[in-house]
Amino acid sequence: MSPRITLAVAGRVLTQIRRDHRTLAMLLVVPCVLITLLWWMFLDLPGGLFDRFGPGLLAMFPFIVMFLVTSVTTLRERSSGTLERLLTMPMGKLDFLLGYALAFGLLAAVQSVLAVAVSVGLLGLDVQGPVWLLGVVAVADAVLGAALGLLVSAFATTEFQAVQFMPAFVLPQILLCGLFVPREAMPAVLEAVSNLLPMSYAIDAMQELVGAADTAEVWRNVLVVAGFAVGALALGAATLRRRTP
């Protein structure tokens, strides 16, 4: 592993995204629009529903977007031959993975600063804990999404398949994360499954931060998310083979 190569990968990925204006605009604008839509939808209902669902959405955006973007871009690296070429060079597998994680983590930070600014500044989301910690949680979610995206791209041979991994891997996590039904109110089996899914901890971190503001609890959840991300990156590294059949 070498910082020079990791940074080279991260820099290159960011240049590619910067060149793709439409993707960049969607990455940054769509979350803000969606969170506004959520606020508007709940506007006439009593009971502070925006405060309940808003944090969940803030945790989901970076995860979903980074999952999709990374699974497609790494699949492209695999199919275009650039990955094979890089692996014949002094490129460590971790350099490759961390380079991607770094680039998308940075992008997620910008994305969540915007989404949080809109939510807190314009839409009046009531955050009990420190607002900057929302950014930390969002970046952890993004890195997790990127790590899982890298991992599943190894099991897809076309971009169509890669996109299908989103409903297969991400939707169940959204359903079971505790946003719709509190996790402790689910059937025991589903609660146990929910405890094994990283998204549950991402949502917990956000909700804790916005609602109860127990920062120790937030950090504990963030650490679990980070642990999942590291695990996914390690598995992802195992799918990167210098020698292929």
């Binding site: 820099g11 590619q16 650039t82 094979e84 014949t88 060079m89 002094p90 490129m91 210098r242 020698r243």
Partner: protein, 239 residues
């Protein structure tokens, strides 16, 4: 005798159900060596073995005295795949600058590599908007970075116009004159005369190995294509 840059002994490769290389042995020395044979005869698989990208069943592949694909070789071997392995959404210069950083070499070499493949006028253009031939030259330029001791080029001249093909062959010879080994694969037999040495390949085996003159003399054929047919039909060997 010239020291061999590549030594392959009893190399066997199975891809899926198919035995692509049944146990091949060959040497590649400095100079321009042509690896000629029909599509599907195992040229690409053999080249992937040389750069350490292919899982092998048995046998040994040594490059510059090290096992193929080992870490010390990763800056000394340049490899061009058949499809242009560059980033379509980056410019020519950005692509090269990235690979140069990965290799840990000076940015000045980027300009040399761009000039060597004749893409000076396109250096700020996004690769995805270049023609097929220009894209494959951008891919070739990446392989030139770091002045490798072995260049493995998988059909680098396919689809190029005659002027460009001549220019690229001149480039391969300039690289070889510097003391490097250049292994170029092609399924077009008329490129044979431009090589110092030829390896004719068919169904995963080397059926002839020698200079173009030696092969022509051995088979009595007027050109390499005829020599190839003669070898296949007569099952003769020129070694």
């Amino acid at each position: 005798m010239v020291k061999n840059v590549v030594e392959v002994r009893d190399l066997a490769v199975v891809r899926g159900e198919r035995e692509v290389l049944p146990g091949i042995s060959l040497d590649v020395a400095a100079g321009v060596t042509g690896l000629l044979g029909p599509s599907g005869c195992g040229k690409t698989t053999l080249m992937r073995c040389l750069v350490g990208a292919q899982q092998v069943r048995s046998g040994t592949v040594e490059v510059l005295g090290e096992p193929a694909g080992s870490p010390p070789l990763r800056t000394r071997v340049g490899y061009v795949t058949q499809a242009a392995s560059v980033y379509d959404d980056l410019t020519v210069a950005e692509n090269l600058a990235f690979f140069a950083r990965v290799l840990g070499i000076d940015r000045a070499q980027v300009d040399e590599a761009v000039a060597a493949v004749g893409l000076d006028d396109h250096r700020s253009q996004v690769v995805g908007r270049l023609s097929g031939g220009q894209r494959s030259r951008a891919s070739l330029a990446v392989a030139l970075l770091g002045t490798p001791d072995l260049l493995v080029l998988d059909e680098p001249t396919v689809g190029l116009d005659p002027v460009l093909r001549r220019d690229l062959w001149d480039l391969f010879h300039r690289i070889a004159d510097r003391g490097a080994a250049v292994l170029v694969s092609s399924h077009v037999m008329d490129e044979a005369e431009r090589c110092h040495r030829l390896l004719l390949m068919r169904e995963g085996r080397i059926i002839a190995d020698g200079s173009p003159e030696e092969i022509l003399r051995g088979t009595g054929a007027p050109d390499i294509e005829q020599a190839f047919l003669h070898l296949v039909e007569g099952q003769g060997e020129v070694l």
